[in-house]
Symmetry: C2
Subunit: 227 residues, 2 copies
């Protein structure tokens, strides 16, 4: 159970988020990887509902979570943190140049070829919900996501993981696809649905998810409390 | 002059694209890095205006350019290709864990924290131009980009490059910011405008850009020619 307040590896995470984000905040990606390799880490909590402290932007230029530090590095961006962990542990990333490069290619594909359209859908369904423009735009974004998922499912084929064995590319792709959990879009591609289920079934994922959710449960805002 | 038809390193690129995309297509990112390290490469051309050949999806799951191969790897995603090149050459990526990790963090930030909003603006200004929804959405997207660029300029501070020396993080960030060339948004942040100018002034960038544009010039569609 890698959460350990005495660990030298530290991530930042939010104290509490609304239900739509619970189980999806990006520290989960790092918790999952750290669980896979059994590396203890501690968590520094930030308030999602208030502006970040000014000095946090020195750690994370956009004020997002997670920021990450260990004995070697101070990092930000979940993709970069996973690559750092992978370069240090073959259980997350093969050491040969082609295996390493291809795993990183899937990770980058998740972040730049799949997730941007999902960001747009999140704006439509959550952050800008009900605005007039979303009615015309939503079907276009859904089509774009559908087409990407169709190609992604073809690329996965009958393999369990994108390169045949679990890598940080799979951790990132599963994490990104989980953001569609309320849409039914992943279910339309049974191979991708099976991939996500395979990732979520891993004990390391389960522990990471439980640990993220436990923080939110412990910091549930009190009804009627002052903001 | 690394373009060399006998090279074992190969990238894919488009034969021709419309003006709005010329000088921005993603093979430029790889050409630039290869020029920085003087590694010869050859170019395999694809037709942007027609569907990709079916077997191209085995190289690039979404049919995009560039795909990349050398004696060691078969890769896709410009971010992953830059990381592969960087891991093999300290001129592109420091070898120490923190320097390496932070350069990769800026590369990932470019792809996942900056470029997605630029994709949305490209939809509004180019691919879905004139559609009713774009009028309401555009100012929101502009605000989002402005806020990201403000934070990015603060993070850069007075340094020439994000980590003080040129890395693949700068190559990617400059490449992503160049997509805003018709908007004036980068000019609002003088530090970022200077960063882009610094990148574009490099002989390696100039050569890479000239080589991409030369291909388009040589394959200009003939007026009145059958499609």
């Amino acid at each position: 159970m890698p959460v350990d307040p005495t660990a030298s590896t530290e991530i930042t995470a939010f104290r509490w988020v609304p239900d739509f984000a619970a189980g999806l905040v990006r520290d989960l990606r790092i918790r999952w990887a750290l669980e896979e390799i059994g590396r203890p880490y501690k968590v520094r909590l930030l308030d999602a509902l208030h502006p970040r402290p000014a000095d946090y932007f020195l750690e994370q230029p956009f004020g997002q979570v997670p920021a990450y530090r260990d004995d070697e590095v101070h990092l930000f961006e979940s993709g970069a943190i996973l690559i750092h962990l992978g370069l240090g542990d073959e259980r997350l990333l093969p050491a040969d140049a082609n295996g390493r490069g291809r795993a990183i290619a899937w990770l980058v594909a998740a972040l730049n070829s799949v997730e941007p359209a999902i960001f747009e859908l999140s704006a439509i369904d959550l952050f800008n919900r009900g605005e007039a423009w979303t009615r015309e735009r939503r079907p276009q974004v859904i089509d774009k996501i559908r087409e990407r998922l169709r190609l992604l499912a073809e690329a996965l084929g009958d393999r369990d993981w994108f390169e045949g064995r679990l890598t940080i590319g799979d951790l990132m792709m599963v994490s990104v696809l989980r953001n569609l959990r309320n849409t039914g879009l992943v279910a339309e591609q049974p191979r991708l649905a099976a991939l996500v289920a395979r990732g979520e079934a891993r004990p390391a994922f389960q522990q990471a998810l439980a640990d993220q959710l436990a923080v939110f449960a412990a910091h549930q805002p009190q009804e009627g409390a002052a903001a």
